[in-house]
């Protein structure tokens, strides 16, 4: 317990306080908020963003950034859907889409790690490239008529909890173990902390840089599959702007854009804050024009709280 409090104090004081204030206010402001049904809904709503944000955490910890996730999501979803429409088994289609996501990530990783290009520029390029490819592939039209079996993946429940939430939990726990308990995780932090020192200490820097983008690509692809399954279609414009939501969640969670510092728990808190803001503003019937402005203010406030803690340390 003491250790948990210590960790929270060190890394996530601002976001945790922000999260609790939000929950507190909303619980009083609207009776609908603190119900099992609504909280389950929040969990389902954040699952897509949380999955992307987990991958983004890996990338940002190495001082990189992945702007291509939204486009990767759309292209993977379109690929899986087209395969299923062509009567390929859903399982095979999903595996193919995930493999594609990994490949897309590997392309980013190759340019960043082996060609030495800036992550921002590389992924800005592939973001546009993948979006264009999606439009070409789908001819700009949504893909409908996905098999029933596939729809269950996004809309079904297990023990009252939606399957996407289970997927999110599983991915989260795996990623936590990797980042905080394995050598690979430690090396990812080390690379982000100081790439040169890591290289000289015998860390295969390039291989690790490549792999964080692969992780990000696969998780973006998984998010795309869940989204397509929930909506029952693959939209060519799916996932536009999702990269920014994911980055927001990561940064809200206290991870430094400079790399080497941050935690996965923070990212989850960040994703929760974003989800609860959306949910709460909807429950309170706030005019959608105001929703974005309010959201922006809350994000700034949370980050300020965090800054204050860092400078006091």
């Amino acid at each position: 317990m003491e250790r948990i409090i210590k960790t929270i104090k060190r890394y996530h004081l601002g976001p945790t306080i922000g999260l609790f204030i939000l929950i507190f206010i909303l619980s009083f402001a609207t009776a609908k908020f603190f119900t099992f049904g609504n909280l389950r809904n929040v969990a389902l709503q954040i699952s897509v963003n949380a999955l992307i944000a987990v991958g983004m955490t890996f990338v940002i910890l190495t001082a990189g950034i992945d702007l291509s996730v939204g486009s990767t999501l759309a292209l993977s979803a379109a690929l899986a859907s087209q395969l299923m429409v062509g009567h390929v088994s859903p399982w095979l289609a999903v595996i193919a889409a995930l493999a594609f996501g990994g490949l897309a990530g590997a392309l980013n990783g190759f340019f960043v790690a082996y060609a030495g290009l800036a992550p921002f520029i590389v992924t800005l390029g592939t973001m546009t490239l993948f979006r264009g490819m999606t439009e070409i592939y789908t001819n700009g039209m949504p893909i409908f008529n996905l098999p029933q079996e596939f729809a269950k993946f996004g809309t079904g429940t297990f023990l009252e909890i939606p399957i996407p939430v289970w997927v999110m939990a599983l991915v989260f726990i795996t990623a936590w173990v990797v980042l905080h308990r394995t050598i690979a995780g430690r090396r990812i932090y080390a690379i982000g902390g100081n790439e040169r020192v890591s290289f000289l200490a015998g860390v295969p820097v390039k291989r690790y840089l490549l792999s964080v983008y692969v992780v990000s690509g696969i998780l973006a692809s998984l998010a795309g599959i869940i989204l397509a399954s929930r909506l029952g279609s693959a939209e060519p414009t799916a996932g536009v702007g999702y990269e920014l939501d994911a980055i927001t969640a990561v940064v809200l969670g206290g991870t430094s854009l400079a790399g080497g510092e941050g935690t996965l728990v923070g990212t989850l808190i960040g994703a929760l804050i974003l989800g609860i803001i959306d949910n709460g503003l909807n429950l309170l019937n706030v005019n959608s024009f105001y929703q974005d402005a309010v959201k922006g203010l809350i994000i700034l406030a949370a980050i300020m709280l965090d800054r204050k803690k860092s400078s006091a340390r």
Partner: protein
């Protein structure tokens, strides 16, 4: 001539007394060296003089008149300037623009920068410093020594009466150091009072008139340099007599551990050398002679063009540092902050990084062993820290260096290359590092020592190879360790 006096200065931070009644005097045209180990209070004292901190008690007076220094600009208005050890320059701007920053008013014409005037003024300043560079050149293209001169030039732009120099020579070559001393002398002649901070004792005898020694925040003594010795200064600094500055142990070096044959890289040419078990071999030369580059070739950082590296009779092919570490070659890099340590990370994490592989099961970190490893080396190397969970950035230079060394000893290397192992380390920690080197030697390890501190290099090594422009010019054996012989080789002459 103006006289600056600090009297009874006290300063504490959250209850810890850092300075307790320290006195310091410097008059115009005089160089006073401020000496003390890291943590003795030198930088706090200087920060009080320059207005970064305000003293809790005590007075600062110029010519007997108390002056209130409450902020940086108060000190600047009194003509007190400081040149910091870490350069505060912009490598991405031109030399002239570096002079411009902070002096914009002087070069402003109708809101625009008056570049012709700026270039003219800067060229004049540079000429007085013997700095033969174009003011339009990017600062980043200058050597560290030249950048240091730019920093001095910047300080001299104002009307300086008292100049503080913090370790100005720590990154300079011998020639650059000489040039710096000339500048110090000419400033002296102009009546500037100089406070000179350095860990290099032999330097003080060349440059300083008096030495003020601090220890643990207390004023210990002020002595005239002509009336003292290095040994006395060290004793004043550490509070006890250190018998030998460079302790030596006798071993009988046995088999050859490392043999480098005709190594050539982009930077060095046909370098051949040997290091035996139980031997400390020095590799010396002036700045830029290729010493560090030999170390880089031996540890898989720079690619070999030709030649071979043989470790314990086995030919190595090193493509990355990983290969070198696996083969048993470890390099303690010269740049602790940028190459040696993850500063915000804990001691435990830093000590474990190169050896994580060796202690894993299914890719998981063996956390118990990681902690034991850290506890072991912290104890073994006497790293002063409350816990292994301390971030290394909070440690003193000497303790940081011990962590770097520990990190590499944990790999159990056959050959340990130490590049500038005592740079920026105080006398006490230096002694410990020397003893550690001797211990490694007694245990039969092979050590290759690179150092620009000549007495240290000659004092600690059993043999010394001397480099000049990427080539080994010769070897000094144990009986021939003379500075003159070294300098002849290092400057390209014959023995």
């Amino acid at each position: 001539m103006a006289l600056l006096e600090m009297k009874g200065i006290c300063k504490g931070f959250s209850g810890v007394k850092v300075l307790q009644g320290v006195d310091l005097q410097v008059s115009g045209g005089e160089v006073v060296a401020l000496l003390g180990e890291n943590g003795a209070g030198k930088s706090t004292l200087m920060k009080i003089l320059t207005g970064v901190y305000v003293a809790d008690a005590g007075q600062i007076a110029i010519d007997g008149e108390t002056v209130p220094i409450k902020a940086i600009h108060d000190a600047q208005n009194l003509g007190i300037e400081m040149i910091y050890q870490e350069l505060n320059l912009f490598p991405n701007l031109s030399v002239a623009e570096n002079f411009l920053i902070g002096h914009e008013d002087e070069f402003r014409t109708l809101g625009f920068v008056n570049y012709p005037l700026l270039y003219k003024k800067v060229a004049e300043t540079m000429a007085t410093l013997n700095l033969n560079r174009d003011p339009k050149e990017l600062l980043g293209g200058l050597s560290v020594g030249e950048q240091q001169l730019v920093e001095i030039g910047k300080a001299l732009q104002k009307d300086v009466r008292f100049l503080i120099m913090d370790e100005p020579t720590s990154a300079l070559s011998r020639a650059e150091t000489e040039r710096l001393f000339e500048i110090v002398r000419s400033l002296k002649d102009k009546g500037v009072g100089i406070i000179y901070i350095s860990h290099r004792l032999e330097e003080l005898f060349t440059v300083a008139d008096r030495v003020t020694v601090l220890r643990d925040g207390q004023f210990i003594a002020t002595v005239k340099t002509e009336e003292t010795t290095e040994r006395e200064l060290v004793a004043l600094m550490v509070g006890r007599d250190i018998e030998e500055r460079y302790p030596h142990v006798e071993t009988t070096p046995t088999e050859i551990v490392l043999r480098a044959e005709q190594l050539s890289t982009q930077f060095v040419h046909e370098v051949s050398l040997e290091v035996k078990a139980g031997e400390i071999v020095g590799l010396g030369g002036l700045m830029g002679s290729g010493r560090t580059e030999v170390a880089r070739a031996l540890s898989g950082i720079d690619a070999l063009k030709s030649g071979q590296i043989i470790l314990e009779g086995r030919k190595l092919s090193l493509r990355t540092p990983i290969d070198a570490i696996r083969s048993g070659i470890a390099l303690v890099t010269e740049d602790r902050k940028n190459e040696g340590l993850h500063l915000p990370f804990t001691i435990r994490e830093n000590l474990a990084l190169p050896t994580l592989d060796g202690r894993s099961r299914w890719g998981l970190i063996a956390r118990q062993e990681e902690r034991e490893n850290a506890e072991h080396w912290v104890k073994q190397l006497r790293v002063k820290t409350p816990t292994i969970e301390q971030a290394v950035q909070n440690l003193s230079g000497g303790n940081q260096q011990k962590v770097v060394i520990g990190k590499w000893l944990a790999c159990n290397p056959k050959l340990l290359i130490m590049d500038e192992p005592t740079r920026g380390v105080d006398v006490g920690a230096k002694q410990e590092i020397y003893q550690l080197m001797n211990q490694l030697k007694s245990e039969g390890k092979a050590v290759l020592l690179i150092s620009s501190d000549l007495p240290e290099l000659l004092g600690m090594s059993d043999r010394v190879y001397v480099m000049h422009e990427g080539v080994i010019m010769g070897e000094l054996l144990s009986g021939e360790m003379e500075q003159e012989a070294f300098m002849r080789l290092a400057t390209g002459g014959e023995v």
